[in-house]
């Protein structure tokens, strides 16, 4: 404290002056506290929402789906050659899953039947995981069914269904999707490819490690396969992922904007307090000028006072924000310790800096006014 006082003598006067009108100072600092909490917790709220959503979406948009093109003269299936080309352009960490799709009659016993899509795939573990039972490897027989369908029809491993007249035993129920991709497992019926009397594939799904890689692979596939003519349609999620990211950015900015309004109000209240203080202390400031304080010295004292209010308010606000973040993360994500993510501290730091900055700006005019008062005028009693 002694060091601080020697280093920043203006702080001594500022601290005592804040102590002089305690209630007023506390109220002014309270404005900053509220503003800082608002900015920090709204920022953290946005971040938490984003985190939670990206958890739900899994590795958002890391899949690329290749299908035969719609254009005239294009082949209506993808060939083995296409598959090899796609495998060669896909990244080393990627999985490539070719599949066929057919509409056919499925009956679930007791006379219940419907016409629906059935998927044929040789290595289903590339796209799906099992909830009940297990996915055989190699996959030569048996059906895999989606979790919603299984629950709806009350099916499980060991039950049988009839597909296109032939009876198939259910070997596994798939897990619900972790993220979102092109093949949603919930209502699938999956059979080995050999069950279908067909050549070529209807879709080839490439699963990359992340959306950036997926985007690159999609471009490479387009360049390679569609070089001479439009043979395939390539879909990826990169634009969707970008849009989601941008929406969150906008949402966060909007939330912080709302928080900033409360800081603006706090700034006005500090301005008011400081102006009152300069009017009340007019003679005192006159004396300081008379005993040899330069204008700049008076400015420093008044500004330190405003900044000190801001720092006190900001620190208290930051403390409360961490508590607010704990509560927020506890209820939204279910893990309070997630408040310790670096992004949250960025928002708390930002809010603190805004709080102190607001105080500084609000202090400028009163300080300038006090510093430029002529001592002769100020000393008239």
């Amino acid at each position: 404290m002694g060091w601080l006082r020697r280093r920043f003598p203006a702080l001594l006067m500022a601290r005592r002056n804040i102590g002089r009108t305690k209630v007023r100072s506390v109220l002014a600092a309270l404005g900053i506290v509220i503003g800082v909490i608002a900015i920090a917790s709204l920022g953290m709220f946005g971040l938490t929402l984003r985190y939670q959503l990206s958890q739900n979406l899994g590795d958002i948009g890391n899949q690329v789906m290749v299908m035969p093109a719609d254009s005239e003269g294009a082949p209506d299936t993808l060939s083995e050659r296409d598959l090899r080309q796609i495998e060669s352009v896909a990244g080393s960490g990627a999985t490539v899953a070719p599949a066929v799709q057919r509409f056919t009659t499925v009956s679930y016993g007791r006379g219940v039947s419907e016409t629906r899509a059935v998927m044929g795939i040789d290595q289903p573990s590339k796209l799906f995981e099992a909830r009940d039972g297990s996915i055989p490897d190699p996959y030569r027989s048996g059906a895999l069914i989606g979790p919603n369908l299984a629950d709806q029809r009350d099916l499980g491993p060991g039950d049988t269904i009839a597909v296109n007249g032939s009876t198939v035993r259910v070997v596994a129920v798939l897990s619900p999707s972790q993220g979102f991709g092109f093949t949603d497992p919930s209502n699938q019926i999956v059979l080995p490819t050999r069950s279908f009397d067909t050549r070529g594939y209807d879709t080839i799904t490439v699963t990359e490690t992340d959306s950036t890689a997926a985007n690159a692979t999609a471009m490479a596939i387009r360049a390679q396969l569609n070089e001479r003519r439009e043979r395939v349609t390539v879909r990826d999620f990169s634009s969707v992922a970008d849009q989601i990211g941008q929406s969150f950015q906008a949402l966060n900015l909007f939330l912080i904007g709302i928080g900033s309004i409360s800081l603006l109000v706090a700034g006005v209240s500090i301005l008011n307090v400081m102006l009152m203080s300069t009017v009340e202390r007019r003679q005192e400031i006159g004396v300081l000028r008379a005993v040899g304080f330069q204008k700049l010295d008076v400015l420093k004292i008044m500004l330190s006072e405003a900044v000190l209010l801001g720092i006190i308010g900001g620190l208290v606000g930051a403390g409360f924000s961490i508590v607010a973040g704990l509560v927020l993360n506890h209820f939204v994500v279910g893990d309070a310790t997630l408040v310790l993510r670096p992004g949250n501290f960025l928002y708390i730091g930002l809010a603190f800096a805004f709080g102190v900055g607001t105080s500084l700006l609000s202090g400028l005019y009163p300080a300038w006014k006090a510093a430029n008062e002529r001592p002769v005028e100020a000393l008239r009693s």
């Binding site: 020697r6 003598p9 203006a10 001594l12 006067m13 005592r16 002056n17 102590g19 002089r20 003679q283 005192e284 006159g286 004396v287 300081l288 000028r289 008379a290 005993v291 040899g292 304080f293 330069q294 204008k295 010295d297 002529r374 001592p375 002769v376 000393l379 008239r380 009693s381």
Partner: protein, 253 residues
């Protein structure tokens, strides 16, 4: 050589459409170690003169010399620096800062100097003023006389050459007033000039000389003697100086 001097100083105030001449050509000089009182009725221009001597205001005409150097026309920054170096102020209302202790109040003029001897000097000064026991008291815990002593100690912290006192005994009872005036005599013995503006005849028991100010003119250099060049008479030359504009507000009874 005079430590502080005014030459043919005129000060005019413009109030509304009228121009009031508060000082009408003052020649005044004080030697180091001299104790001078300036007396005069309300509105005679005493406080205006004190403000000019204290570099708080600029004259409309004439010069103010500090150690033989003309200080009129200096920038605010230079005037402030000169004031800090050479001049100490003592006010009728003490004007101590209520949030600071006696010791801190004395240190105030040197607050931004980063000078490690300030604290010791401040304690020395307060002990000299007999306030060794009151170092850490706030102003509201001190009596009027004690407050004025703290104010005097404050005015001496930067070792000024001149001490300007505006009604130094105005808010004190007679006994306390005497003690304060004795302090001033002590100070002049250390070669510091003291100029006191006052109503209080008691002050004259202690001073080396008294000058009287009437209607903006120095009594002993009255126009009748012909020594002062007559300033251009303004239409309201016969009207007493400004009384209600607050400039002479400290001339209260």
């Amino acid at each position: 050589m005079a430590v502080i001097e005014t030459r043919r100083v005129v000060k005019r105030y413009r109030t509304g459409g009228e121009t009031l001449e508060a000082l009408k050509g003052i020649d005044f000089a004080v030697e180091p170690g001299e104790f001078v009182s300036i007396m005069g009725p309300s509105g005679s221009g005493k406080t205006t003169l004190l403000n000019l001597l204290g570099l708080l205001d600029d004259p409309s005409e004439g010069e103010v010399l500090l150690d033989g150097e003309d200080v009129t026309g200096l920038t605010d920054r230079e005037q402030t620096a000169a004031r800090k170096r050479t001049i100490g102020f003592v006010f009728q209302n003490f004007y101590l800062i209520p949030t600071l202790t006696a010791k801190e109040n004395v240190e105030v003029p040197a607050l931004f100097d980063h000078d490690s001897t300030v604290e010791r000097r401040s304690v020395d000064l307060l002990e000299r003023m007999g306030l060794g026991e009151r170092l850490d008291h706030k102003p509201d815990e001190l009596s009027g006389g004690q407050k004025q002593r703290v104010a005097i100690a404050r005015s001496l912290i930067n070792e000024p050459r001149v001490l300007l006192a505006d009604e130094p005994t105005g808010n004190l009872d007679r006994d306390t007033g005497r003690k304060i005036l004795e302090e001033f005599v002590d100070i002049t013995e250390r070669d510091v000039a003291v100029i006191a503006v006052t109503h209080d005849e008691l002050v004259n028991d202690y001073v080396d000389r008294t000058v009287r100010l009437v209607d903006g003119l120095m009594g002993e250099d009255a126009p009748a003697t012909g020594r002062t060049p007559d300033p251009t008479p303004s239409p309201d030359a016969d009207v007493p100086g400004p009384t209600d504009d607050g400039l002479t507000g400290s001339d209260r009874p």
